[in-house]
């Protein structure tokens, strides 16, 4: 898949199997956030294909492009993007409400996420009254609570003080253990990948340059060993961003 944004050209192929986490690191401006925005559907890819399991989200050659709403993706944005006019609780409940779940049930679910993240007492506050770290946890809760099929988490632990960070990382590890879709997580911090037993790739100027040796890296595809897939074909919910470049590399 490739996408061009100003001077930046992102060109890469990724394959993240269902139930596994891929951590992306890289310097500022390497294109990590742009990559996530493209996968989420906020930016149109200029070439290639994005696919989740059997669902083609985007295929430039065939003119397919699912709107963001239909991608069933949970995004935790680096700049958080909480809705200023809604309380923390209603921010977290927003995804469920959008899918037609009634207010009470959506709020109850939101409250339990906020409680897990140590934010129960702040549920009635609006984002303007939250600290950066508190807003960060609300943003993470909102992404996890929207019943996504896959997750894009952009620096979900930034802006947290050490105590909150430890707690949030625990919750994230537990939540992702239960989560059976693919997860892409942008982070600079090495311990995150370790705690999530995630693979790790590094982006530089729009390309993947180095890959954790634990990963099987071939044909410019990054893929992780995936034992679960054989046991359970339903779990074939991998996300793929395939670069159909000049060399006719069709990914998988």
């Amino acid at each position: 898949m490739s996408v061009v944004r100003g001077d930046l050209r992102i060109q890469l192929a990724l394959d993240v199997p269902a139930g596994s986490v891929l951590v992306i690191e890289g310097a500022n401006g390497a294109g990590k956030t742009t990559l996530l925005a493209t996968l989420a559907g906020h930016i149109a890819a200029s070439e290639g294909r994005v696919q989740l399991g059997a669902t083609v989200m985007e295929d430039v050659a065939r003119g397919v492009r699912l709107p963001t709403q239909a991608r069933r993706v949970g995004v935790c944005y680096q700049d958080r993007r909480l809705f200023p006019s809604l309380t923390a609780r209603d921010n977290v409940a927003y995804g469920a409400r959008s899918r037609g779940i009634d207010r009470k049930a959506a709020r109850d679910a939101a409250d339990s996420w906020l409680e897990r993240l140590g934010m129960a007492s702040l549920a009635a506050l609006r984002p303007a009254r939250l600290s950066a770290g508190q807003a960060q946890r609300v943003a993470l809760a909102r992404a996890l609570a929207c019943s996504p099929r896959w997750l894009l988490l952009d620096e979900p632990l930034a802006a947290l003080d050490p105590d909150a960070r430890a707690q949030t990382l625990d919750v994230l590890v537990a939540a992702l253990q239960d989560f059976d879709g693919p997860v892409l997580l942008v982070s600079h911090e090495r311990d995150v990948a370790q705690r999530l037993s995630a693979g790790c790739v590094r982006m530089e100027r729009g390309r993947l340059v180095s890959v954790d040796p634990a990963l099987d890296h071939r044909a410019r595809n990054v893929r992780m060993s995936d034992d679960r897939e054989q046991d359970d074909p339903v779990r074939d919910d991998r996300v793929r961003g395939v670069d159909e470049g000049k060399d006719g590399d069709n990914g998988l």
Binding site: A37, A40, G41, H42, P67, T68, Q69, R71, R72, V73, G74, V75, Y77, D79, R81, F83, P84, S85, L86, Y94, G95, S98, R99, R142, C146
Partner: protein
């Protein structure tokens, strides 16, 4: 350390400015003070009890509110289109939509006659449908809407343009439909500009005179709104005109208070 204005006096105005500023302020304030000073307070109760006057007040509030509702109903989608749409001649459309703000109101009235008058462009079609606009309250509402809607459209457009698209993208990622994004993110984010636009629009509609008297006429109880009543009273009973003036001054003050702190960008 940052210097505060006035610390050393270097930014002080030349003294002639003080004189000019005083004259300018006096010119703006004096007529209003005179209006209040000249008001026939002793006759006020008797004058205000007049049935014609009460009907003018009710008519004015109704016409201004009707014009504002029209402006909001069609103006919000228009503002949306101007702020989000990508189409050729968007700048030209924006200028055309703004034009009634600077057009002499009497010209607006003539233009409305040319379009909707009995012998106007659409007058024949309207008449065939059993609709004659001139000299009706509906015409007064249209005249007020024509001159006041741009205040709402421009203010709403500015507000909609200022909404962070990243928030709307986030709402979309959470599965929200376009309507839901608009209702829960865009409009709440723009609400200050939208309210300011509504208040400005209503105030302008309330004060509308030229287009109304030209297009809708000055028919007591049907199109004689407060400004027209002031104009009519001036010939018969200047005391009444002054009193009505004070009344409208009070309404204008109320509008200013309502807009307090809002960024007003007509």
């Amino acid at each position: 350390m940052r210097l505060r204005r006035g610390d050393g006096g270097e930014g002080a105005a030349p003294s002639v400015f003080a004189v000019l500023a005083f004259v300018g302020a006096a010119f703006l304030v004096l007529p209003l003070a005179a209006l209040v000073a000249r008001a026939p307070w002793t006759r006020a109760a008797a004058l205000l009890a007049d049935a014609d006057l009460r009907s003018a007040i009710v008519l004015s509030l109704g016409v201004a509110t009707g014009a504002t509702v029209l402006a909001a109903f069609f103006g919000l989608p228009l503002a949306w289109w101007l702020s989000r749409g990508r189409f050729p001649l968007r700048g030209a459309l924006r200028a055309l939509v703004t034009l009634p703000m600077v057009l002499p109101p009497v010209v607006a009235g003539v233009a409305l006659l040319a379009a909707f008058g009995r012998r106007g462009l659409l007058g024949g079609a309207l008449e065939a449908g059993g609709l004659t606009l001139p000299f009706t309250t509906a015409a007064a509402v249209l005249a007020a809407a024509f001159v006041s809607a741009p205040f709402f459209v421009r203010s709403a457009e500015a507000g909609l343009s200022a909404v962070d698209p990243a928030l709307e993208a986030a709402a979309a990622s959470l599965g929200a439909s376009r309507w839901r994004i608009m209702r829960t993110v865009t409009l709440p984010e723009a609400r200050r500009s939208l309210t300011a636009g509504l208040v400005l629009c209503w105030a302008r509609a309330l004060g509308e005179f030229g287009a109304t008297i030209t297009f809708a006429g000055n028919v007591r109880g049907t199109t004689r709104t407060l400004p027209l009543a002031v104009f009519s009273a001036l010939q018969r009973d200047p005391d009444l005109a002054v009193l009505l003036g004070v009344l409208m001054l009070g309404l204008s003050l109320a509008v200013l208070v309502a807009l307090r702190g809002e960024e007003v960008r007509p």
